[in-house]
Amino acid sequence: MRFALRRLGFFVLTLWAALTLNFLLPRLMPGNPALAMMAKFHGELTPQSLNALEILFGVNTHKSLGAQYVGYLHQMLTGNFGTSLDFYPASVSSVIGSAIWWTLGLVGLTTILAFLLGTGLGIVAAWRRGGRLDSVLPPVFVIASAVPYFWVAMVLILIFGISLHWLPYLGGYNVTSDTPGLSLTFIGDVLSHAILPALSLLITTIGTWILTMRNTMITTLAEDYVRMARAKGLPGRRIMFDYAARNAILPNLTGFAMSLGFVVSGAILIEYVFNYPGVGYMLLQAVQGEDYPLMQALFLLITVAVLVAILVADVATALLDPRTRTAG
């Protein structure tokens, strides 16, 4: 219980840090970037939007930094992220709302798949030490970890999209011929557009799972209780799962959460390459369009998402490890 509270406290702290960073960054940059942006959009904004922008970026106000900060926090915590500039006059929240589902689908499903597949392969590779799988995997995935995410996407596009014409590679669905809805053709379209991006993400992120699981398994297999299990004559499969894997996976769950940051980076780049209408693509569009309110909100959203995922992983670890369950 105490452990859970401490973690929660940590997340609140991190959230606060992210909010504060968001607040300070535009104000720290030489020549407040917001000024330039506002000049660009000045003629087109309503007074309310202008006011919101001022609060967000601290331009044209005579309030002290502290007062600005309080106003900013109040705005953020009440969910008022202002008006998007690129998608004016839509509010930032509504703009993000449409993009979230695409990213959740892509990233969420792919990560779960990569985790399951990767962990499984890692377990088997460690169990059959010296076998073919084990000797091939490490070098292959060491190299895979060094490959830039977007490059994998490009190669896939080149092979499957352009040369072979098997799969589409632009957008989340075919905008010209389809309308969103629950029709079978739409769903099929969405799925076919998701294959290449998902594959790119899978290829680039699975390596870490396999490797870390394999390494933890190898260390676990050297433990005395695994030797004891052998001494008791337990069947191989039971030792592999019940005694080795169950212990090896625990440290990996928190590692899983830590590496989410990298999955997120990969997703942003992959969405960019495929023009996939998710949160990452939107972030880059916002950057290019100097839509700062949107940018800020997206950054906070991504941070919160990662934090939540870590929290979930922590809870899962605690539930699975009786030592934390009974101790505190």
């Binding site: 992210a18 190669v155 980076s265 972030l283």
Partner: protein, 328 residues
Amino acid sequence: MSIPLSLGQPAGEPRRQSTSQWAASHALARMGRAVRSNRKATVGTVLLVFFILVALFPGVIAKDNPSADAYKPHLGLSTAHLLGTTAYGQDMFAQLVWGTRNVIIIAFTVGLATTAIAVLVGVAAAYFGGLWDSSLGVLIDVLLVIPLFPLLIIIAAYAHGGGTLLLIVVITVTSWSYTARQLRAQALTLRSRDFLEAARVRGERRLYIVVMEVIPTMTSLIVASFLTNALYAILFASSLQFIGLGDPNTVSWGTMLYWAQNNAALQTGQPLWAIAPGACIAVLGAAFALLNYAFDEIGNPALRPVRKRAPQPVPQPAPRPARGSERA
């Protein structure tokens, strides 16, 4: 209640250096040996040296000025233009070769700077303990959890993109926490080791202990830190350049990819423009990753490749003649 049975002192050379300095030079010698014997390390070192040489002497290989758009655009492969020309009439091969310099500079500068900060913060946190440890530890953890790439994007966006220096600074400032965490963990385990107690008892000052005893013992982890940070520096920097947040006029692999993407290189039949620089990033990254993995194996022998031997028949003892006590 067992009393030590051996009361001898190990005969040996008189100790001229402290144990840890010996450990450090020993570690470096071991690494040198390991590089030669471990295949991954050898390949990685060869590749790295190759790229460093190319970065130092690009004019030797590529005679053309990479930025000059002096040629006909869209030329294919030929002896005059090994990789053809870009849509702007620049020689692609020259760009690739000269771009190496930018990448290597970023990799090494960020690698060294990040590792230096990580060592300072990590070891200070572990060794000075108490309030230092708590606050630095929290700082590390918070920075670890905030998704780095989105943060990088935001900062670079506010700065309207910048040259190499900005990239270096921004990446260093955001990515040191990952390795700081590992170094802190190791420093914590070293804190209670006997030889540090001995130093303390000898009356050495804390700073002396930290610099002369703790850090040399962590040599292999520090080297691994450098390699990891260099790898991520390359990936982050090229990604930022790719999405246009680097200075598009620098000659670098990431900027080549930016221009390639902007000109829809894949779709318009100029795949090499995108594939070649990406491949270079992958290979250089792989060099760092291979070295890192090799050091992992060197440090933890359990991870080394196991060659499965065919089960050999175990020789049985020959029946021994009974011997009496009549031996000369």
